[in-house]
Amino acid sequence: MNHLLRRLAPLTDANWALIDEEAAERCSPALAARRVVDFAGPRGWQHSATNLGRTRTVAGVPSEAVGAAQRRVLPLVELRADFAISLAELRDHDRGAPDPDLAELDAAAYRIAVAENSAVVHGWREAAIAGIAEASPHDGPVLADTIDSYPRPVAGAVELLLQQGIGGPYGLLLGRDEYTRVIESAEHGGYPLLDHLRKILGGPIVWAPGVDGGVVLSLRGGDFLFESGQDLAVGYDHHDRDAVQLYLQESFSFVAATPEAAVPLRAPRRVTQRARKSRA
């Protein structure tokens, strides 16, 4: 038994299969960053840090005429989203009920996906993660509220990347509001905005909950590196007569190796999550 302690849970094999399937189904659509960055691993729960290949000088060497350097690494961050499932619901599932209530699991899947997306795109200072948008040296344009304003900044971002010698195809991550605006819109003449943007990018347009605005980035590979320790998994915490307490968990690090391979598109006239955090 590993650290997830799954065998201690009062769940049948069919319950676990249901929970794992539901968790994977609910997480996958929202895990936007994984659709556009390089994914390495999973390296396992015991993997603690990403090799940066860099060193820092260490003073106070306890001998004369000896130099010293210490490796710099990026520690992996652990994310965990707790949820509960009614044991009565699971017993009903064992009886063949087709519609068990897994609402808390669904919500936890969304929360952890949002956290992963936000860390990769906007960074997470406390976890020493520099996100794609914040690491980019480019001063990205603003996505205005009108749909006519979308093709120009996206095309401008692609042209900027080409100018830097950064090849495509290119992908576009869009926050929830921006994505909704794109998929519900047709330009003058009725041509769907989504198709127009896809032609500009040559790559996918991805719904990215947890992202403010958007970001255009190269998909050529080698620029944005997500390293997974333990990939998303469901573990057991405890249970009582009524419910079993479980959690979704993962460990990862993220490195923007080529920050200039992305151009952020800023959200218009809204208080962004980062701004809210900094004000809190």
Binding site: M1, N2, L4, R6, R7, A9, L11, D13, W16, A17, D20, A23, A24, C27, S28, P29, L31, A32, R34, R35, V36, D38, F39, P42, G44, W45, P204, V206, W207, L219, S228, Q230, D231, L232, A233, V234, G235
Partner: protein
């Protein structure tokens, strides 16, 4: 064209099993090639030719290793036993017996371990190239 890697009618096999069988066949071919190069190198007297053969054998080492890793990732029980045998110091047979015994003992809870690699992972991994 023959389909010798299938022991059962291919039409009755699921796609994942056909892939698994193809990779097993590939693993076998890489191992054969490694053995052939080893024999050729043992008798080759031309240094330049031997250098090329050594380089080619290195390619086969890589192919074999990649095939093996693929198969281990798709087969938790095999991976578990391999983990107890590969890259260990000491008696290989002893490690093999111990690893097999441990994997067999774990079988009772294998389904609860979950995930394609037996770690409990949901197996999501990279989503590059998938539809949102």
């Amino acid at each position: 064209m023959g389909f010798d890697q299938y022991h059962e009618p291919p039409g009755e096999l699921p796609a994942a099993t056909r892939t698994f069988a193809r990779m097993c066949a590939s693993l076998t071919e890489e191992a054969e090639a490694i053995g052939w190069y080893q024999q050729r190198l043992a008798v080759e007297t031309d240094a330049e030719a031997a250098a090329i053969m050594r380089d080619a054998q290195g390619e086969e080492f890589k192919h074999f290793s990649m095939d093996l890793e693929f198969l281990l990732r798709r087969t938790p029980a095999w991976r578990e036993i391999a983990r107890g045998v590969l890259f260990q110091q000491g008696d290989i047979v002893e490690h093999g017996e111990q690893a097999e015994a441990a994997a067999t003992a774990d079988d009772a809870g294998a389904e609860r371990t979950g995930g394609p690699d037996g770690s409990g992972s949901l197996g999501i991994g990279s989503l590059r190239g998938t539809q949102g």
